[in-house]
Amino acid sequence: MSKKITFTSIADLPPLVVSMGTTEVNATGSWRYLRPVYHDKTAPCIEGCPASEDIEQYMYWAARGDFDKAWEVLVEENPFPAVCGRVCYHPCESSCNRDHFDQSLGINSIERFIGDHGLEFSLDRFKVAEEREQKIAVAGAGPAGLAAAYHLRRLGYQVTVYEKEEKPGGILQYGIPRYRLPKHILEAEIMRLERFGVEIKTGVQVGKDIPWNEFLQHDAVFLAVGVHKSRKLNVPGEDLDGVIAGLDFLSRINSGEDVSLGKNVAVIGGGNTAMDAVRTALRLGSTPAIYYRRTRAEMPAILDEIEEAEREGIPMEFLVTPVELIGENGALKAMKLQRMELGEPDESGRRRPVPVEGSEYVVEVDNVITAIGEQGDFTSIPEKLIEWGVVKSDAFGQTEQRPVFAGGDIIEQPHTVVHAIGSGKKAAMAIHAYLNGGDIATLADKIHVGNKGGVSFLRFRDGHEGDPVDNHEVVTFENINTSYFTRKDRHQVPELDVKTRITNFEEVKGTIDREAAMDEALRCFNCGVCNMCDNCLVFCPDVAIKRRDDRFRYEIDYAYCKGCGICVVECPRSALSLVPEGK
């Protein structure tokens, strides 16, 4: 700051009227009644992701071509990027602000590229605590169980996962077909966990091979056994030869069994199991069709999967339900269907299908695959933990019995891979708090990102000190200054042509290349987080914004900032806020 110049006599004055100091003597900050502050917020994609991946941050690194760093940011929250990059229903993309501008960011395809990039990477860098003595047991090596095991291992616990099947992975191993998730991808991401010290014991069912009481001897246990009992149609003829439960069908195919189907295969249902079953049947050489009791709009399957099934030429019959399966000598021959119409909305908000009297008709079928939903098989779990067909738990997976925690499809939450992964992470945090005599609920405010229940492991472990972040303020499209973005369509994901793909189990969708991943990541608005675009620095009329000494981000010189607010308005991504002075 320039010094104030005082003349005490005429003799002090210069011979000419010349300047002798700078205007820095004027602390024009006193004019200010609004104060701009750097204030990171939460991007809607992060709030939209049930696993709370820090999408904005890995886009930042991906756009700069640093995919090692992008992978690290991603795996901080989710140990399965290559898996999720293939099978996730990507609610992040439907939350993306860019959707209101041109098209939402291709987050899932970038995630997949990053996942594949780091497929051989070790998890060792994620260890955050010294080894601890406490032993934790996990029942079920599906996405929830493995995610919990990963985060617990990071915190130093000794974790053993018990899996009743022959191989770990749960729904990823036995449910999702190879053309969506090749086995080597899944196995690479699971093996990485094992190398990280997560012990996985397969062929061991908790409650049967290990008695419940013995299981409870661990310092904490996490239940994530999933739901795999296909719901019954409850119509006559369901026991006929040729009627197959959807999940059993997928599991047998995924185990490498030869399943022989007839020509006409009817798949009943509109969810992901139905889509997987129908597309699998097609690849086995049958002529399958979907029969669903509501319309396409109400189908619970991922839209991508419905579209792919349609592209593969699979007929879909809507507003029908089977009322009888007709056999001949114990073998299925035909199916009697009844037409439905949509009535009043039910508890799911979808319009309830109502049968139309006298509309029955018969179609010839060789097989019926049922895929109208799954339910839990809780015979091995103590009854007092169950309520309304799910394991009763709070938002962090804490059941009423210590030290039992639960997650995945057996608790009340949507049955998706990413919800399962999120629930595993939350339970790991809750277990850690419990074992250290704390209560995870007291940390909720610090670790939540957005307002939809997601939690950040990064903030859990280090509190994310340093730059101020508002976890709960989610950036909306109105907060974005779109003048700084140009319209550009998202990258298309490469895929096999229909003719080739339906003859085999080759992966249908491909991974975008490095250049496309960088290019697509550059489309990211980076909502709410400073990415050092320099706009604030460039547009300050008062030279009051400077690069920080470490040249990372900026600082405002409040001695001079007049509070015009240009930096706030011109920030493309709402990483600054204007707050009233004196508050």
């Binding site: 300047s19 700078t22 205007t23 004027n26 930042y60 008062d542 030279v543 007049k562 509070g563």
Partner: protein, 295 residues
């Protein structure tokens, strides 16, 4: 997040100091900041009566890291001519001389000196930061004030019916080596043109559309936004003209409605639908004319 390599978008050295006396959100102060970043410290600035007479600070302080010569309203171009001649005599021809005047000192009061210097092809850069009225003295109309704009001397019941004077056309007619328009919303373009002007011998003229929150009746934080709307609506085309003949359009915006620009400012509050249609029509017509001159 780790350290990343920073590629500054504009030159980093600052030759303007904080603590200057411009109003919050002043376009003219931002313009000076960019101009000096482009020209560097081997520059002398001549400022006739205008907002910048005040912004630069009272004796014995200065807001700039280069010499400023404050002069009378009508004399910027004459003083710049003289200063350049004196520097040449001293063998200091590498010094860039920049006259920095408002629209009052350019379009009206300093006009004859400017026209004379342009005709003589004096070797200096004349910059008009055009805020479209005598803002410093209390928002009186100038010949740069656009049609329909409120000022204290064109109140709403006695508004300005004449169009803004075409200063670019006038200077082009002097066939000076370099003429350009710049906007504070396009800093890279702004700085490039000042650097180009610095490299050219002879008379250079740059017009800056300079938003004035108190005079245009806008919020302090809207200056960049409004500057951008002026360009996007084609009211203020970003162009370069060499020797009065070679026209270059630096940006060809899709062309948003002039309404977006007008409605963002309180000074145009009383415009009728017909007025807006008339302005749109004029803007479209001039744009077509400009396109013909470019090709």
């Amino acid at each position: 997040m780790n350290h990343v390599d920073i590629q500054p978008r504009i030159p980093e050295p600052e030759l303007m100091y904080s603590g200057h006396l411009a109003c919050p959100g002043c376009g003219a102060s931002l313009a000076m900041r960019y101009a000096l970043k482009a020209l560097g410290n081997n520059t002398m600035v001549i400022i006739p009566a205008c907002c910048w007479s005040i912004i630069a600070g009272p004796f014995p302080y200065s807001a700039l890291g280069v010499p400023i010569y404050h002069t009378a309203f009508e004399t910027a171009a004459a003083v710049a001519s003289g200063m350049k001649a004196a520097l040449d005599q001293q063998g200091k021809s590498d010094v860039t001389v920049m006259a920095w005047a408002g629209d009052g000192g350019t379009y009206d009061i300093g006009f004859q000196a400017l026209s004379g210097a342009a005709e003589r092809n004096e070797d200096f850069l004349y910059v008009c930061y055009d805020n479209e009225a005598y803002m410093n003295t209390g928002i009186q109309r100038s010949s740069s004030t656009p049609f329909g704009a409120w000022t204290t001397t064109t109140p709403e019941n006695h508004r300005k019916e004449r169009p803004k004077k075409d200063i670019v056309g006038i200077l082009a007619a002097h066939r000076i080596p370099y003429l350009a328009t710049v906007s504070v919303a396009y800093p890279e373009d702004f700085i490039r043109k000042f650097q180009k002007a610095r490299s050219i011998r002879g008379m250079k003229f740059i017009q800056i559309l300079s938003p004035c929150p108190p005079g245009w009746k806008t919020a302090d934080d809207q200056s960049i936004h409004i500057s951008r709307l002026a360009v996007e609506s084609r009211i203020f085309p970003l162009l370069e003209i060499e020797h009065g003949e070679k026209y270059t359009l630096n940006l060809e915006p899709e062309g948003i409605s002039v309404r977006d620009y007008l409605e963002a400012q309180g000074r145009f509050r009383k415009l009728s639908e017909q007025d807006v249609a008339y302005i749109q029509n004029e803007v479209d017509r001039k744009w077509e004319m400009l396109k013909r001159q470019v090709s």
